[in-house]
């Protein structure tokens, strides 16, 4: 094939012993993006499954696309529906795209540049972990955040959240949430409050657009919400760019569970944990946040998005099967707990998942200890009988 010959010719200076050998990982990343390489098995099994990490990551991106497209639509819709002018769906989509596509571009360019640099520096191939993180980071930012802040958060997340621990497969914290946490704590006025969650709401030139989310309204004590449960399910509410629509997230969850890429144990555990905690608070019912129905809790504040796409990140979650249930339950529990008890953080999902990311190795440690003890008992059984 002509493309293959062209690439082989371009590849010559990057081969072993040639001039640019140390930059080979960067070129190989582009080569393997176009072609599955011609490596054959050297050790072990002579045949291999068709699946590889790229296919797994692309499946996650496919699962994210419904939420992304709805996010683009919702950004435009929230903006136009609060103004008094006529609009068409094209206007909505253009407005949304013009806000979101630059953020995605910045995220991928900054993140991949740092990943390529680390791969060249460390001498290993570029791992595909960033394909998903690069799309997730814009989807959880508020819509009007300046692009340089996105770039800085991405750089922090890839440097400190991932590469400092050893790269893909070694990180303790979810990189996308690390980016958001950095932005949240470094630039709080751009990341919280009543004005950032709808496009142009913080722009003083545009009047009449309010940017408050549902959880923000509840935290400030208002008992009547302008949104129905159906709005919350469909996602036509203010919030971070692409995390509002429970329906689109459910489509993504179905794709992840069907292909086996996302852990259904973590998702189900989180839903059960959050539902039980929400029901408990509904019974207690001291303030508006507590009385918010547990079913609605599952649909607002990016809970569904966080549970399906963030908590299920296989590297930072618990890695044993039993550990995933415990991890999921605690994510759900802490999510609702932080939301209800701390009005400064109506967005409890991010912090709950980060907290459980830190505790995931501990959960795994105890599950492994239980496995070791159980097997030891089985081996020692004859001795016990004799004694």
């Amino acid at each position: 094939m002509n493309i293959r010959n062209t690439i082989d010719n371009l590849k010559k200076p990057f081969n072993k012993g040639e001039k640019w050998e140390r930059f080979a990982p960067a070129f190989n990343a582009l080569d393997t993006f176009l072609f599955v390489p011609n490596h054959t098995t050297k050790h072990g099994a002579h045949i291999r499954d068709a699946v590889d990490l790229k296919r797994t990551m692309i499946t996650v991106i496919l699962a994210l696309l419904p939420a992304l497209f709805y996010g683009i639509y919702n950004t435009g819709f929230q903006y136009y529906s609060q103004l008094d002018i006529d609009y068409t769906i094209i206007d909505i989509m253009i407005h949304g795209s013009m806000k979101i596509v630059p953020m995605i571009a910045v995220s991928y360019i900054v993140g991949l540049a740092i990943e390529f640099a680390f791969a060249v520096f460390r001498g290993h191939e570029v791992n595909e972990g960033y394909l998903v993180t690069g799309l997730l980071i814009p989807m959880i930012m508020p819509v009007d955040i300046p692009l340089w802040m996105v770039g800085l958060s991405v750089a922090f997340a890839v440097f400190i959240g991932k590469e400092a621990f050893g790269g893909t497969g070694m990180n303790i914290l979810n990189p996308a949430l690390t980016a958001r946490a950095f932005a949240f704590f470094a630039y709080p006025t751009y990341m919280s409050g009543n004005q950032v969650w709808v496009s142009e709401a913080s722009n003083p030139a545009v009047d009449g657009v309010s940017g408050e989310t549902i959880l923000g309204m509840l935290a400030s004590g208002s008992s009547s919400l302008p949104y129905q449960s159906m709005d919350m399910f469909m996602g036509s509410i203010p919030g971070s760019i692409a995390e509002t629509s429970t329906l689109m997230v459910l489509i993504g969850a179905f794709i992840l569970i069907y292909t086996g890429v996302g852990s259904w144990r973590i998702m189900l555990g989180s839903v059960i944990g959050a539902a039980l905690t929400g029901m408990l608070f509904n019974l207690w019912g001291v303030n508006e946040l507590m009385s918010f129905s547990w079913m609605n809790h599952l649909m607002v504040g990016g809970f569904a998005f966080g549970v399906v796409f963030m908590a299920t990140d296989p590297v930072s979650a618990a890695q044993t099967m039993k550990g995933k249930w415990i991890y999921g339950l605690l994510v759900g529990l802490f999510c609702i707990l932080i939301r209800v008890f701390n009005p400064a953080y109506p967005e409890g999902v991010m912090l709950a998942i980060l907290l459980m990311n830190v505790f995931a190795p501990t959960i795994d440690h105890y599950v492994i200890e239980a496995n070791v003890k159980r097997r030891l008992k089985r081996i020692n059984k004859p001795l016990i009988n004799i004694a």
Binding site: T41, A50, G167, Q319
Partner: protein, 214 residues
């Protein structure tokens, strides 16, 4: 520890009964490039190229000849000879070709996959033309839960592999290195989405235990 196959016992018996040493071996020759896949009667130490060309294989093709089965066997050249412990010869085509955008899910369903990101699970009785392509490159451990699906024992395979790579002897012992052999990890080798060389790692772990613990 030395082992004998059932046929070897028959050879010894025949020798005691008749005084004639007749090292017959019945081997199976199989694989997609083989035209006549069946059992062949031959003797220990015969030339492999003769056997497989009788089985209908063109030895000038780019092929991989395997002593054993495709998951646990070792590679041999066609000018090698049949070993004492050979019972199967598997032949595969070498897969040193490129597949454009082959990593996209649901394409290239002629490459078998046990996962649902490909449609090959819809055709369980189809005969696949397997080759030795790695179908990707080696990566870090990322996906969790896939090894437990194909591993039959009550042992945590990913944790055991990680401890073997780290050479942590106490942890390897407690996680069960004494209960496994490399061929138990052959399905993990086959199905790993990060293309981990699990059998190789376990083999090195066992060698480490032998040298350290005795």
């Amino acid at each position: 520890m030395w082992t004998l196959g059932a046929e070897d016992i028959a050879i010894i018996g025949r020798y005691f009964m008749t005084g004639i040493y007749n090292p017959i071996r019945t081997i199976a020759v199989s694989g997609p490039p083989v035209k006549y896949p069946q059992y062949y009667k031959t003797i220990v130490g015969s030339e492999i190229s003769k056997i497989i060309s009788d089985a209908g294989v063109n030895i000038n093709d780019s092929l991989r000849i395997i002593n054993g089965d495709v998951l646990t066997g070792s590679k041999v050249n066609h000018d090698n000879f049949l070993g004492f412990y050979n019972n199967t010869l598997s032949v595969l085509r070498e897969g040193d070709h490129y597949r454009m955008f082959g990593w996209i899910p649901f394409v290239n369903n002629e490459v078998p996959s046990i996962y649902k990101t490909s449609f090959s699970w819809l055709f369980p009785n189809k005969k696949y033309d397997l080759d030795t392509n790695l179908n990707g490159e080696e990566r870090a451990f990322v996906v969790t839960g896939e090894m437990e699906k194909v591993f039959p024992m009550d042992i945590l395979p990913m944790q055991l592999l990680k401890e073997c790579m780290a050479g942590n002897i106490e942890k390897m012992e407690s996680l069960g290195i004494y209960e496994v052999a490399p061929e138990d990890f052959s399905l993990i080798d086959y199905s790993s989405s990060s293309k981990i060389e699990a059998q190789y790692i376990i083999r090195q772990g066992l060698d480490l235990m032998i040298s350290e613990v005795g």
